[in-house]
């Protein structure tokens, strides 16, 4: 050890002259751009899905109602409140946020003497509410899957030659992957007309517990084969996942469950109805509403007979929806389960002809009317009377019944809803078989963005060769000297909706077009055929703008008569199912009330 080692340390005395490195006023020092400071929440963007609460490992987040934010489709109306006594600033809530509404500011100093102040609602409280800097997740969310698992479907060339089902259905692996994307927020449940336990049955798919899944399905819907294929799946339009990706394929997952449970097992799982209660109910119409009501009533021990005018049960599910969307055997399985509950379905039995309404009234404790909308409307523009002009519902019914229908080489469809797509695509298949080519023009009042048909129907129709002319208003069915149809004359629709969103088409008469075709099919709207009621009952009933008046519980003005389904409400299978449950409940409540009276 030398002198050097005694003296060297003193050389650092030079630092005496350095500026101090401490920060003079640390209170005002801003955090870095990415700093994870106090939370911010874009209240309009937030949908109250509660995913932030779920992921929080500190249980720091509560979902609370906010004044002025009401629950609505796809928004629970709740917003996160954060307890800063627990928060650990990990920002998993920000990363998992389904909409990207939840972020963090770079603010990190907050002094208050009231500890309860530190339970605060980002987006409402906090001076840093609108600060730009602070933590936001980089890019789209990565903590839950963004892209939907692809569904295998037949290619257009393969499917146009036949009526085979297009959608393959998920394999187990695919279904589990798709089910994995669900965050179980449950926003979809309110949107589903039948309020199916969607997150729960998706969880059952994840767990590969198909028995549990099936039981969950049957709690709210006896038509899962049907709804798993053709449901309008409004649930998917309120799915939290759609905000930064594809909504969960809820419909396909439902179908997957039902695909995985064999028919006999379904009956086993549902179990037998309760003891007969001695009541009798007649249901008119074997569509989704009528059969759902029948299922519920039968399970509650009521003796149920369903009267169906057509040759087979199913209503529009069979006679409206083409086989390539909903194979008949799938529908038969759903109906089979309902029959296994003891429901008797009398087909080819038209009320008003084969059995009288008065008899039904007399012989039953209640009658449920679920007749649907089976009468096609006509535009009644000039030229619609006479051969060569058909209504879509009639044609679809005839195709289902296996009847020979006229198939011209070139035809025109009027309408932009699913029925229009159904008939166009059905006729396309028949044309393909007959001529080897598709010759279909479809015209609709609506512009393509406002079609009532499901977007995938439009896409698939086009793939199959249907030529779509949107925003065209039909003016005349053109006929030649012999009276044969030669085409449809249309005007362009300038605007279709008024300020209130009601139909009020305005035409540009100068933009006229004639769509060639030797047949015109009208698929514009449907009406209920209420002639079965007979004059006396029609007079006795109260009506509401053309429809039988019902109350919230589906009671008509006649105490023994109830009505449900498209004929009174509409517009789709799942709504009809929901109606069926509701009307069944009302009927049972009515029975209990009568019991008390006696």
């Amino acid at each position: 050890m030398g002198l050097r080692e005694v003296l060297t340390p003193f050389t650092v005395w030079k630092r005496v002259f350095d500026e101090p490195v401490t920060i003079k006023d640390p209170i005002g020092r801003p955090g870095a751009d990415r700093y994870r400071g106090f939370h911010q929440n874009d209240m309009d963007k937030c949908i109250g899905c509660g995913t932030c609460e779920t992921i929080c490992q500190n249980a720091a987040i509560d979902m609370v109602p906010i004044e002025g934010v009401e629950p609505e489709k796809g928004d629970s109306g709740l917003r996160p409140q954060i307890d800063y006594g627990r928060c650990c600033w990990c920002a998993l809530c920000v990363d998992v946020c389904m909409t990207g509404s939840l972020t963090m500011s770079n603010e990190y100093t907050w002094v208050d003497t009231d500890p309860d102040k530190f339970r605060f609602i980002p987006g409402i409280d906090g001076d840093w509410k609108d600060d730009v800097a602070g933590y936001e997740r980089e890019g789209q969310r990565v903590l839950s899957g963004v892209e939907r698992i692809h569904m295998e479907e037949m290619e257009p060339e393969a499917r146009i030659c036949n009526f085979d089902e297009i959608v393959a259905g998920y394999t187990r692996e695919e279904a589990v992957l798709e089910a994995d994307r669900c965050v179980e927020c449950g926003l979809c449940v309110a949107t589903c007309p039948a309020h199916m336990s969607i997150p729960d049955y998706i969880a059952a798919v994840r767990d590969q517990d198909y028995d549990r899944g099936l039981q969950l399905l049957y709690e709210t819907n006896p038509f899962s084969e049907v709804c798993g294929r053709v449901c309008t799946h409004k649930c998917e339009s309120s799915c939290a996942a759609l905000h930064e990706g594809d909504p969960i394929a809820i419909r396909w997952l439902k179908r997957h469950i039902i695909d995985e449970v064999p028919f006999d097992r379904r009956i086993e799982l549902i179990g037998q109805p309760v003891e007969p209660n001695g009541r009798k109910v007649a249901i008119i119409g074997a569509g989704p509403a009528g059969l759902t009501a029948a299922f519920d009533l039968a399970r509650a021990g009521t003796s149920v007979v369903v009267y169906e005018a057509l040759e087979h049960a199913g209503g529009m599910m069979r006679y409206g929806i083409p086989e390539y969307r909903l194979p008949y055997d799938a529908l038969d399985r759903d109906i089979g389960v309902i029959q296994a509950m003891g429901v008797e379905i009398k087909t080819s039995c038209r009320v008003g002809r084969d059995v009288m309404m008065e008899d039904l009234q007399r012989e039953n404790d209640a009658v449920v009317l679920a007749i649907g909308l089976h009468m096609g409307r006509s535009t009644r523009v000039p030229g619609t009377d006479g051969p060569g002009v058909e209504k879509a519902v009639d044609l679809l019914r005839r195709i289902t019944d296996g009847e020979e229908v006229p198939v011209p080489e070139q035809l025109v469809v009027i309408g932009g809803g699913n029925v229009a797509m159904d008939i166009a695509r059905s006729m396309a298949r028949l044309q393909k078989a007959k001529y080897g080519e598709v010759g279909i023009t479809l015209t609709a009042l609506e512009d393509i963005d406002h079609f009532l048909a499901d977007p995938e129907e439009v896409v698939e129709s086009r793939e199959e060769g249907v030529e779509i002319f949107d925003a065209r208003g039909p003016q005349e069915v053109m006929r030649d000297a012999s009276g044969a149809v030669t085409g449809l004359r249309t005007w362009r629709v300038k605007s279709i909706f008024d300020a209130e969103g009601r139909f009020a088409p305005a035409y540009d008469e100068s933009d006229e077009r004639v769509h060639a075709g030797t047949m015109v099919i009208e698929a514009i709207g449907q009406a209920a055929d209420t002639s079965l009621l007979g004059e006396a009952l029609t007079e006795a009933l109260e009506w509401n703008r053309g429809r039988i008046r019902i109350d919230d519980a589906f009671r008509t003005s006649e105490p023994w008569l109830f009505a449900a389904g498209d004929a009174v409400k509409g517009p789709d299978v799942i709504t009809a199912v929901a109606d069926g449950h509701r009307v069944a409940r009302t009927v049972m409540e009515e029975f209990s009330a009568r019991q008390v009276m006696q």
Partner: protein
Amino acid sequence: MFSFKPDRSQYPAAGEDGKLEIDLETGKYLKLWQGPNHPGITGNMSVELTVCGDEVVKGTTHVGYLHRGFEKLMERRTFIQVFPIVCRVCVPEPDFNEYCYAAAVEDLAGIEVPEYADWMRTLILEMGRFNSYMMFLGGIGGALGLGITGQWMTYLRDIMLDRFEELTGARIYHMFILPGGVRGHLPEGFEGRMEEVLDTAERYLADIDRVMFSNSVFKTRTQGVGYIDPALFEPYGVTGPNARAGGVAKDLRKDSPYLVYDQLDFDVVTHTDSDIWARSNVRRQDVQVSIDLIRQILRKMPKTGPAMAKIPNVLHWKIPRGETYIRGECSRGEYGYYLVSDGSGYPRRINVRGPSYTHAMALLEHMIPGTNISDVAALMVSLHTYPPEIER
């Protein structure tokens, strides 16, 4: 100048079975508690010393002052929810927890992490190592009465924390390494600001060399003090700089390269003396290795690329049944996570293997007898232990 050679032939007295016979009633011995609240850098642990004169005859380590039951807490959380907890096991160098946990989950779940994330993780770990060494260099100075090093090192650590802050969004618990990757990319202009930090650090470290390693007092008090016989390394599970100071050139970064260490150029620092001086020197040199590595990483790492692999929905992420062990070379030695999954959405068991577990317990207790009271602080610091790793 000074030489301290205690005569151990007289005391403490040993019984026939070789056990020490310490009878406090004799007045010959005194119990003295070093910690848990002492101003050193070893954190909240205490050593119960039995002294005779100024010589320590026995030392017993006591921990439990910051036991929060992390391992148990983790069992009650989903795999993603464990992520914010792990870093809290070690304040000065939390990132190893994040890395080891993430890598363990990835190993069991079969997830391939994107290249960018591997580089970023390496960068984070080296930045953390730098900070941890700052704590050490400040601490060892403080333990021997050199207050200035602590101030400088705190400053250097602080400007490195600034870089952590702008990169990860937090200063202490970065929570940046997610299972599946990392949370983000380098901010614009990060390399330049990092270079400023490294440059400043190098200037200050040069002064550390002057004030500490060229200081006769420091030398005298550390050379030959706190010697660990390399033969004890394996029985006592000694790893990291503590072992390297005894000539064992083991460094997991080299021996079992993880992340991108096989693409980086660096040497393993060793020393032969295995005393406090050697351990301090190894760490001092290793800071330079870290500084060089940070520079290399920033130069070599890809500029773009995904930061995260595709992972399942974390809200119901189930990890396949199995067990794994992931380790890395942290500033104190082998850091590891032993993860057991029973196939559910919650870990069955997570065991954190921190180097302090062996260094501060069995090893320290073995070393203490015979030291001078005034050297105990330096001895404790020289093992570079962080008690939360022990009690987790």
